[in-house]
C-alpha cells in the first residue's frame, strides 16, 4: 500500500466565531496500492477537491482543519512511513512534491505565468535534490519528453505560449519529476476537448505503468473514470457512498446515487435508445446535506424509506465492494 487513509474527517467552518461547521470530508477511509488508479466521482460541491487538497494538507487554512484520522504514506521500498496529518507545517514542504504531488483543472494554479517552463521544473527539482543545474535541466527535458513535449524546443517557453493541453502536460511533468509515490489529479482534463483530454489521460496512465505511481483521480465524469481507473469511489456530501472496481460501479451500480449518476448520462448503458429522456436526479446538493442526520442522499433518493432516517454506515458487501445504503438487497 502506498497510501492508507483512515477515518479522515475535515471540518469546514461556515462561521468560525460561532464555531459553526460541517464535515466536508466525513470519516473517509480507503487505500491505494502502488501503481493503482482510483477515481473519485461525484457532483460539483460534493467535496472532492477538498478531499484531494486535504491529502496534501493544502486545504484552506483558518476555515478548515483536519479534525481526525490519518493519511499514511509510504515509499515504494516501505522504508519511509509518514502520517501526513501529524506533520508540522515546516515538514510539509519536504513531503509535497517528493512523496505526494497534485495537478489541478486550471494549470495557472501551479504554473507561474512569468517563469519559463523549463526553469519552473528545474526549481521544483532543486527544491528537493542536490544536483547540478545542468543535470536538473536534463531531467526536466526528459520529463517533458515523456509528456510528448519537445523538451529542448519548449524549454524556454512561457506558459501562455502553450495550448491548454500542453500546459496540462507540463504540469504533469512538473508533478512527476521527483517520482512521487502518490499523484492527486483534480479534474485535470475538464477544460480540454475530447482528443486532448484522452492524450492527457493516456499520459497519466503511462506514468502509472512506467513509474508505478499511485493516482487519486478526481472527476465528475463517469466515462473518464471508466477510461482511467481500476477502482472508483462514488462521493457525495463528504462521504463515500459506494466503492468498488470501476467496471462494477459502472455496469452494476448498487447505491441509488451511483445508479442515478449512470442513468443521467447518455450512451453508457448497452440497451441505449437515442432521445430517450435521461434520468434527472431531483433537487440539488446543498451544504445542509453535509449536516444531515439522515442518509445524506435522502432528499434526492428514489429508494428512500423510513429505514433511512438515521446515519447510514458504509457496509462491506464483499472484499472489493462497499456501499452506504440500507436498501440494497
Amino acid at each position: 500500500m502506498s497510501l492508507i487513509i483512515d477515518n479522515l474527517t475535515v471540518k469546514l467552518y461556515t462561521n468560525f466565531k460561532k464555531k459553526e461547521f460541517f464535515n466536508v470530508a466525513d470519516s473517509v477511509s480507503f487505500s491505494i496500492q502502488n501503481g493503482e488508479i482510483i477515481s473519485v466521482v461525484g457532483e460539483s460541491g460534493s467535496g472532492k477537491s477538498f478531499l484531494g487538497l486535504s491529502l496534501m494538507r493544502l486545504n484552506p487554512p483558518y476555515i478548515s482543519e483536519i479534525s481526525s484520522g490519518s493519511i499514511l504514506i509510504s515509499d515504494t521500498d516501505g522504508f519511509e512511513k509518514i502520517d501526513i496529518v501529524k506533520l508540522k507545517e515546516n515538514q510539509l514542504s519536504d513531503v509535497r512534491g517528493r512523496l505526494i504531488s497534485m495537478i489541478f483543472q486550471d494549470p495557472n494554479v501551479s504554473l507561474n505565468p512569468v517563469i519559463k517552463i523549463g526553469d519552473q521544473i528545474i526549481e521544483a527539482i532543486l527544491a528537493h535534490k542536490k544536483m547540478k543545474k545542468k543535470d536538473a535541466s536534463d531531467v526536466a527535458i526528459h520529463y517533458l519528453e515523456l509528456m510528448r513535449i519537445d523538451g529542448k524546443a519548449r524549454f524556454n517557453s512561457y506558459p501562455h505560449e502553450l495550448s491548454g493541453g500542453m500546459r496540462q502536460r507540463v504540469m504533469i511533468a512538473m508533478a512527476m519529476v521527483l517520482e512521487p509515490v502518490v499523484l492527486v489529479a483534480d479534474e485535470p482534463t475538464t477544460a480540454l476537448d475530447v482528443k486532448t483530454s484522452l492524450q492527457v489521460l493516456a499520459l497519466i496512465e503511462k506514468m502509472r505503468f512506467e513509474k508505478n505511481v499511485s493516482v487519486l483521480f478526481i472527476t465528475h465524469d463517469l466515462s473518464i473514470a471508466r477510461n482511467i481507473s481500476d477502482k472508483t469511489i462514488v462521493f457525495y456530501a463528504g462521504q463515500i457512498m459506494e466503492y468498488g472496481t470501476t467496471e462494477d460501479i459502472i455496469n452494476s451500480p448498487l447505491h441509488p446515487y451511483s445508479i442515478s449518476l449512470t442513468k443521467s448520462v447518455p450512451a453508457l448503458s448497452k440497451d441505449y435508445a437515442p432521445r430517450e429522456r435521461l434520468f434527472v436526479i431531483p433537487g440539488s446538493l446543498s451544504q445542509s446535506d453535509f449536516k444531515s442526520e439522515k442518509c445524506r442522499f435522502y432528499n434526492r433518493c428514489f429508494k428512500r424509506s423510513k429505514d433511512c432516517l438515521n446515519e447510514i454506515p458504509l457496509l462491506k458487501l464483499s472484499s472489493e465492494r462497499f456501499a452506504r445504503c440500507v436498501n440494497i438487497q
Binding site: 482528443k195 492524450q199 471508466r226 447518455p266
Partner: protein, 329 residues
C-alpha cells in the same frame, strides 16, 4: 434523415471567415487564421443537425456567422431560400434564428432582473409591448420548467442550470424556428445537464424546432441528433446521418473521434498518448493547417494519407447519403 421531403431551413454556401492575427507579441508578421473555410451544408426543417470537432476547429465562429454576430469573409447564408444579410437589419428574418451559448454565467446581463432579460428580445422585435414584459416572462419561464417567481431575481442568484434555462427562455421568447445551441451543457453538472437535454428534446418535439447543436461530445450527438457534421481546421470533413456514422464513419478523422469514445479501460487508453501530436520531422508545410497550404488540412495527422493529398485539396463529395471530404474514403 434528410429525405429531401423536408423543407430546407438553412443553406450555408461556401461560407468563410478569416481572422487576422499577430503571431506573438514580438512578431509583427500578420497571420491569417482560417477559422471557417469554404463551408457548405443544408439543414432541414425539424432536424437536429450537430456539429462536432475539437477545440479551435471553428464551431463557435460558424455559429456566430449564422447569427450575424460577426462579419463573414465570403459566402452566403440562406434562410428558407432568402439570403440573410444582417447589414440590412432584416429583423423579421433574424428573430427566427436564436442562439444559446455555452457559458450560462457570462451570457446574461448581471445587472438586470430576469424578466427584463427574458423579455428584451421580444420587445425589441415588437412581439410584445413593454408593459406586458412581466406577464410574458412568467409564461416563458413556465415553458422551460422554472418557477414564475424567478422573474424578480438577478442572474447571480441562480444556479448554472437555472441560468441556462433562462438563456433558453430568452431565445424562445421571439418564437424562433431555428435554434443554434453552442455547447449548451458542457459547463453543467451531470444531473443539471440531463435536465437541460431533456428540456431541449421536449421543446424540439412540442414546437417543431430545428436545431444546430454544437458539441465536442459524440455521446451527445448520438443521443440528440439526426445528422452529424464533423469539422477540422475550419473545414467540414464529413456530413452523415447519425446512425450511419456510428456504424462506421468514412473520414479518417471521424474514425479517430469515434474510437476515442469507444476506448474503455486503462490499457486501451494508452494508445492515445500521441493523439494530436504532430511529429515535427514528418510535417508537410504544403498540407495541414498552415496558412500557405495547398493540400488537405488533415494531412499531417492522417493515417491514410498519400502523395496526392499534399498538393491537392479534396472537396466534400457525395457518397450515398454521406458527404466526405477525403480522396480515399
Amino acid at each position: 434523415m434528410n429525405t429531401g421531403k423536408k423543407p430546407e431551413v438553412l443553406n450555408i454556401n461556401k461560407l468563410s471567415k478569416y481572422y487576422l492575427s499577430y503571431g506573438s507579441l514580438f512578431n509583427f508578421k500578420r497571420n491569417i487564421i482560417k477559422a471557417v473555410d469554404n463551408v457548405s451544408f443544408k439543414v432541414y426543417k425539424g432536424d437536429i443537425f450537430s456539429i462536432v470537432g475539437e477545440t479551435g476547429c471553428g464551431k463557435s465562429t460558424l455559429s456566430k456567422l449564422i447569427l450575424g454576430l460577426t462579419n463573414r469573409t465570403s459566402g452566403e447564408i440562406f434562410y428558407k431560400g432568402n439570403i440573410l444579410n444582417y447589414n440590412l437589419k432584416k429583423l423579421n428574418l433574424r428573430k427566427k434564428i436564436q442562439i444559446v451559448f455555452q457559458d450560462p454565467y457570462s451570457s446574461l446581463n448581471p445587472k438586470k432582473k430576469i424578466y427584463k432579460i427574458v423579455s428584451l428580445p421580444a420587445i425589441k422585435n415588437k412581439i410584445i409591448k413593454k408593459k406586458d414584459a412581466l406577464q410574458y416572462s412568467m409564461q416563458m419561464l413556465k415553458n422551460v420548467g422554472l418557477d414564475e417567481d424567478y422573474v424578480f431575481k438577478f442572474p447571480h442568484e441562480l444556479s448554472g442550470g437555472q441560468r441556462q434555462r433562462i438563456s433558453i427562455a430568452r431565445s424562445l421568447s421571439v418564437n424562433p424556428e431555428l435554434l443554434v445551441l453552442d455547447e449548451p451543457v458542457s459547463a453543467l453538472d451531470v444531473s443539471v445537464s440531463a435536465q437541460i437535454l431533456n428540456l431541449l428534446l421536449d421543446l424540439h418535439e412540442k414546437n417543431n424546432l430545428t436545431y444546430v447543436f454544437i458539441t465536442h461530445d459524440l455521446r451527445l450527438v448520438r443521443h440528440m441528433a439526426d445528422t452529424v457534421c464533423v469539422m477540422y481546421g475550419g473545414k467540414i470533413m464529413e456530413i452523415s446521418p447519425v446512425d450511419k456514422f456510428f456504424d462506421g464513419p468514412l473520414h479518417p478523422y471521424s474514425k479517430v473521434l469515434l474510437e476515442s469514445i469507444l476506448a474503455y479501460g486503462p490499457k486501451n487508453i494508452l494508445q492515445f498518448a500521441d493523439a494530436g501530436n504532430i511529429n515535427i520531422n514528418n510535417i508537410n508545410i504544403n498540407a495541414g493547417t498552415g496558412k500557405n497550404r495547398r493540400g488537405c488540412v488533415y494531412y499531417n495527422l492522417c493515417s491514410r494519407r498519400m502523395d496526392k493529398c499534399i498538393n491537392n485539396e479534396p472537396d466534400l463529395k457525395e457518397n450515398g447519403d454521406v458527404q466526405v471530404n477525403c480522396f480515399f474514403p
